[in-house]
């Protein structure tokens, strides 16, 4: 049984206009979540573990050609196609809007990965291994997955829990470490405001292309973006028409109806390619 927690609904905003494709998020994720080192052969076999990956698309013809980057991570869909197909309940949707994976239950039918439109679910094809020098680098908060099970982005749930513990027990700001005044030390996790809890990728993004917060949390811009995205869906339901040119907000594969908890902001083209 799932214990009822505070009504968080986590969400991430990816601003493609800021993304430079520097792969810092990928490395940070790798380090934070005990992901095995991706050697060359993994890439060649298309078996690299990347909970978040930077997809690179070329636009235009040589010579005037542009590289476009889009970071793809688990979209934590509300209607996640991967969830209901698991025979052993190894993945389900918790009440904080996060699509969680239970490593102990997973038997590796790989149906969830087959049914994931974003192909963000990784399968452990080999027993993970690290060089001796990296033994102490492993994160004690994160399980080391065995071979034969699925894994994927968790929105760094271990950091979430750590942050909760800090807020409610020690009364420390998770990042800055300042004391929280006694009056605001409540047990309802309300202190988990934008910024005092960040996934590794968001924390490491040099251009703030990634933003993360509770979707109800109005202390930051995230809420507005999500409201805009939901508005679009609403107008479509009413049979209205959404003018794509006036909004930057969109969700990946809207038409599949997966209702992701990650929204993307379109790239603004200051110097669009002239039609050659």
């Amino acid at each position: 049984m799932v214990t009822k927690r505070a009504d968080h609904k986590w969400g991430m905003v990816v601003d493609l206009d800021r993304c430079t494709g520097c792969q810092a998020c990928v490395v940070a994720c790798q380090a934070e979540n005990n992901i095995p080192i991706n050697v060359k052969s993994f890439y060649q076999q298309r078996r690299a573990y990347q909970w978040i990956r930077i997809e690179r698309y070329w636009e235009g013809e040589f010579p005037n050609v542009k590289a476009k980057f889009i970071p793809i991570l688990c979209q934590h869909c509300e209607n996640a196609p991967c969830e209901p197909v698991c025979p052993v309940f190894a993945t389900y949707h918790n009440d904080e809007g996060v699509n969680v994976q239970i490593y102990n239950r997973c038997i590796g039918t790989r149906y969830c990965s087959v049914n994931c439109p974003y192909t963000v679910r990784m399968f452990n094809f080999w027993e993970p291994s690290w060089p001796k020098s990296l033994r102490n680098q492993l994160n004690p908060d994160v399980t080391i997955r065995t071979r034969g099970i699925m894994e994927k982005c968790t929105f760094c749930v271990q950091r979430l829990r750590r942050g909760e513990v800090n807020v409610e027990r020690r009364g420390l700001e998770p990042l800055t470490g300042e004391r929280i005044p006694a009056g605001e030390r409540t047990m309802n996790y309300r202190q988990m405001k934008e910024g005092n809890y960040l996934p590794a990728c968001v924390q490491s993004c040099p251009t703030n292309a990634l933003q993360f917060a509770d979707q109800h949390d109005d202390s930051g811009p995230v809420k507005e973006y999500f409201e805009e995205a939901n508005e679009q869906i609403e107008t479509r339901h009413q049979g209205g028409h959404v003018d794509e040119s006036h909004t930057r907000v969109y969700r990946l594969f809207e038409e599949i109806g997966t209702k992701p908890n990650v929204v993307y902001l379109k790239k603004v083209e200051p110097f669009p390619l002239e039609k050659a």
Partner: protein
């Protein structure tokens, strides 16, 4: 007085049928003689008695049981484990329908098998008189008569064309 089984073996179905007529004429009740064959002859081919059975009840009972069990199982497991998955309702009916259907069919079939075995009075290892030649195409006429009438029954069978008549004590000695 106790009834004794006696088995006449016939080479052709016609003789066996004749024997049946003769037995009927001799006033042996139809419940007392039976035709052992290695082939399903069409019903009433020997003018034998009409066998009634209640086989058709079994699948219906089984289906009902399977239906209830299936519905209970599927609904209760879902409700006992209320994990939100892909925006589907906690109690999703269409998947229930699939699994319930399977359980219904399974029990229906299992009950039918039980019914068949039960209705054809199997297993019956303490069988009465039997002769392995029956599975060679000979047709056995198994008669239960009072000990007194054994001999004339035997005579009756032989003149109907039985190539051999088996009686219990012979079988025991053999």
């Amino acid at each position: 007085m106790a009834k004794e089984p006696i088995l006449g073996l016939f080479e052709t179905a016609d003789n066996a049928a004749d024997a049946g007529d003769a037995l009927k004429a001799a006033g042996v009740p139809q419940t007392d003689y039976d035709f052992l064959t290695d082939t399903p002859y069409p019903e009433g081919a020997f003018g034998e008695r009409h066998e009634s059975h209640r086989l058709y009840i079994f699948p219906f009972v089984g289906a009902l049981i399977g239906l209830t069990v299936g519905i209970m199982l599927t609904s209760m497991t879902q409700l006992a484990y209320p994990l939100a998955q892909g925006g589907k309702p906690i109690l999703s009916l269409p998947p229930m329908a699939v699994v319930t259907y399977e359980s219904t069919m399974l029990t229906a079939i299992v009950f039918t098998i039980i019914g068949i075995i039960f209705e054809s009075r199997l297993p019956s290892f303490k069988q009465g008189l039997y002769d392995t030649r029956i599975t060679e195409g000979y047709i056995g006429v198994l008669v239960n008569v009072d000990e007194g009438q054994l001999t004339q029954t035997q005579a009756l069978l032989t003149q109907a064309g039985a190539i051999d008549v088996v009686r219990k004590e012979e079988r025991l000695t053999a």
